[in-house]
Amino acid sequence: MIRLERVSREYRTGAHVVHALREVDVAVERGEFVMLMGPSGSGKSTLLNVIGCLDRPTSGLYRLDGEEVTALPEPSLVRIRREKLGFVFQTFHLVPRLTALRNVELPMVFAGVPAREQRDRARRALDAVGLSPRATHRPDELSGGERQRVAIARALVMDPPVLLADEPTGNLDSVSGGEIVKLLGDLNRRGRTIVMVTHDEGIARVGHRRVRLRDGRIEPGEGP
């Protein structure tokens, strides 16, 4: 499903060059639940952003679902973001002026889904994350855990095969964090490929496999 070969990502700030990723090779199969771990600054977010087509690698190859992504022009990236990828951010990134329901509808707005269908699908997605009662609330009226569930509903509403989550429990207490992880586990069991960043070894055990980063490199580690 996901193939990265010798992917590097450098940040140039003035004279400095930060090597956030150094020739990383990653492969994730369809239906896998992979936990991405490593110390702060090791390049986890950078890697997940590259996988999510939110960032371009400086060098290397990235193949998603058989398609060579690194060389694609912007319009194709837009299509891939719409159809293949759902992204959950550590800081939620909900639009504060929109209700939970409208936030979930946002990807469908850009995909040109008809209005009536938007509403139905957004309700079902909120239902799936157990947030139907909060549909008309704005983000500032929701708890952290509820916001993250709205974000997950938004990531799922276009029904993408791949779900990427960058520390989705990072800002939550252990109870709501546990609920989110359980939710992701359920989604994975229903066939979705999931890559998730976490610092929590306990949570990491939920995944099939752990990939560890250090200084932008994959640490040789446990097999499947």
Partner: protein, 401 residues
Amino acid sequence: MNPRDLFGLAGGALAAHRVRTRLTVAAVAIGVAAVLLLTSLGTSARDYVVRQFAGIGANLIGIVPGRVETTGGPPLAAGTERPLTLDDAEALVRRIPAVTLMAPLALAVTSVEAGGLSRAVTVVGSTPEFVPIRALAMAAGSNLPAMDSHSTAQVCVLGARLRRELFGDRNPLGEAVRVAESRFRVIGLLAPKGMSLGVDLDEMVLVPVANVLRLTNRPGLFRIAVQCRSFEDVPALEADVRRVLADRHGEEDFTVLTQQAVMASLARIVGLLTAALAAIAAISLGVAGIGVMNVMLVAVAERTPEVGLMKAVGASRGQVLALFLTEAAALSLGGGVAGVVLGLAGAQAVEVFVPALRMASPVWAIEAALGVSLLVGLVFGALPAVRAARLMPVEALRGRR
């Protein structure tokens, strides 16, 4: 993205950032209003000057019989030339569309009697147009009736002093006066005016022109006065008059008088005022544009992370642009309309305090102010959005610019 979503999202963003929306609308409105107010001040000042000059007859030309070599002054000799007739005068009106007013003029000095009192005065034979052409005003009663210029209706209008001398405090309207053996009914009284072109307009009696021609027993007019809309049309009018009369007479046996010195300085002054007006308009448009630009740049640039989020959930560059253009268009249009209302109201207020200035906001100024604010608003409302939309989503989310 369907229109409902486009307008819904754009409108929601405007409503959510109420302070910013108001500031932007205010910036556009103030810019547009300033442009309107300044240009209408400039235009009305120019019009004021032009009107003052029009009062002294800058948009008037006179035609007198006889040919003189040097321009200006009356013809030197009344030789064998053909007279200027009433038919000549009417031909000018008929054949030259630029003529707004025309008055044939015949003069006679004779005695005027009423109630046993008699005065020797100038009898002015003309048409009702004589009154507006000479910038006279009626004090009471009515002007000569509109009529065929060959009419010899026995009615007259009295100058202010003559009326007092003949009638004292009595009301002369409807009374009869005797002008060289004929009886004329007084139908109107002129407001005081004074001397003009050698005729004491306060001590005259105005009668239908054909009466004077019959009195003097000559077909020739003393003068034909022709007025056009503006002094700028005078040269064209002069050429037309020459053509029409020469055509009728077979040769140029008449003289056209214009106020050339007045016109030359008027043209200079008006040219200067117009240039100043253009500068005022350009500067105020520029200032307004920069104001709008700043507010827009700041308002949109701080939303770079929002653009990043939109792109992350699948928005294309075009969709981002459409959203921000819609917002910018709403802001600039709203501000523009508010500005026009504000500017027009301001112009009215100026007129209340300075009635001499007839404030009229020129249509081109409204168009230019609206156009520039809309253009600047759209460009600078969309530009930062375009830049943000070019970034990869993470970069935009981070708020980097």
